[in-house]
Amino acid sequence: MKRIISTTQSLCPVCLKRIKAIIWEKKEEAWMEKSCPEHGRFKALLWRGSIPMTKWVRNKIPATIKKTNTAVEKGCPFDCGLCAEHRQHTCTALIEVTQRCNLNCSFCFADANGNAEADLDLETIRRMYQSAMDTSGNCNIQLSGGEPTLRDDLPELIRIGHELGFSFIQINTNGIRMGEDEAYVSALKKAGLNSVFLQFDGTKDEIYKDLRGKPLLETKIKAIKNCQRYNIGVVLVPTLVSDVNDSDLGNIINFGLEWAPTVKGVHMQPVSYFGRIPNLPDEQKRLTLGDLIDKIEDQTQRRIRKDSFSPPGCENARCSFHGNYTVSENGELIAQVGISKCCGVETAEEGARKAKAHVLRKWSGVGPEPQDDGIKSAAVPAKDGWDAILDQINRHSFSLSAMAFQDVWNLDLNRVKDCCIHVVNPQGQLIPFCMYNLTDKNGHAIYRQQ
């Protein structure tokens, strides 16, 4: 029996007109159905898992955008941003510092390649930083691309960000240069790089050959070693594709734990169908957050349990899950659960504050560690006192999280309005990540490359 859960608005995948959509649930699955008068009916999987989507809830009192950059004229999602209808400030602002790339991946939301499009100059990037600061204050910054490490002046870009008052700056990288060029990693550290969001799709080279066109596992390990050498926090970021690497999740988590505390966690991104894609989605094969939660529990032999995951306090509940753990003396993972779940109604503003503080704390590099050429043990030496507790929390924490981006097929505009991951465009507008990258069935974007 199908049960209609809610109605919302979405877009037609062909003409990008705003259309009504219904969301219904049947057993462990939730689907969106929508109909365009011109292009017909569309159906997309939103959720599948032993935890029903209707239980994945965290209601918030919406934020009011203090400084809007655009007027409400055409309605969501055509007025980004941020406009007065948006309900959340920026937690993470992305700045794409180049469109060049040294890989040619089968999936690429930025559709980046080896093109010679000129990189943004320093003054433009400074203005983009400033716009993020004016609109959303000291949010977390992610320098992205393309492949940002292709810029020799990336350390300078990091320095500018800190000078303008941003506390946390992360780069989103495939790790190739990080692995091959230690002097560059050193320069990034000196410039104040806090964290590396490392594309890490699996523990087998076959996975990289499939998704990235070449074997890259050794390169990734070299990148992690260099980050370890310079105390830069690393978050492993797998793009998850059904039948390619969704059965490697447990291995990826175990790999991350072996490299703790340099590796601070794993952030999973089930693949979305925008930008450059090898095929249109097969909805039965779409990976949802519910799928990932069940797979993690299964592939870790319940060492990580699904009840250790929570919906987010910053973005819309259906956009992500996260769990925080500490690694005990004997290598066991201890879930930190229930710590923020005691305060009744939450505000989106407080959710954004907590999310920013959490990322700064949990994903930054930790203090100096003894050098070791081999794999580091995650074991914790026994200590007494408050310092031991702080050490346990700061050095031996590990996070697992996932974010489900929306594409034109499964787009729910209610979620867009709650978005806190914003791409800053060269004009200084802040555009929800999914809307910036969203493309129609034929690859046409709403915002990118305008």
């Binding site: 910053c314 710590i339 959490h358 006192g385 408050w386 507790i389 346990q392």
Partner: protein, 68 residues
Amino acid sequence: MKHESTDQTKWYCDKCQRELELAKVKVKYMEGNFEVDLMKCPSCNQVFIDETLALGKMKEVEEGLEDK
């Protein structure tokens, strides 16, 4: 508790009228047991956490455990 003003501040348990002593106390965070030094009544075992600790390392611990 009552406060007696001396160079080395002494604290007394109001209920037992005993001077608090520095003692090892077990605290539990994240399912892990840790031992910390706290002022404790030798009679009823009530502990006292002073302002410096409450607003210092203890606050740091609480913030470190704050979820998002």
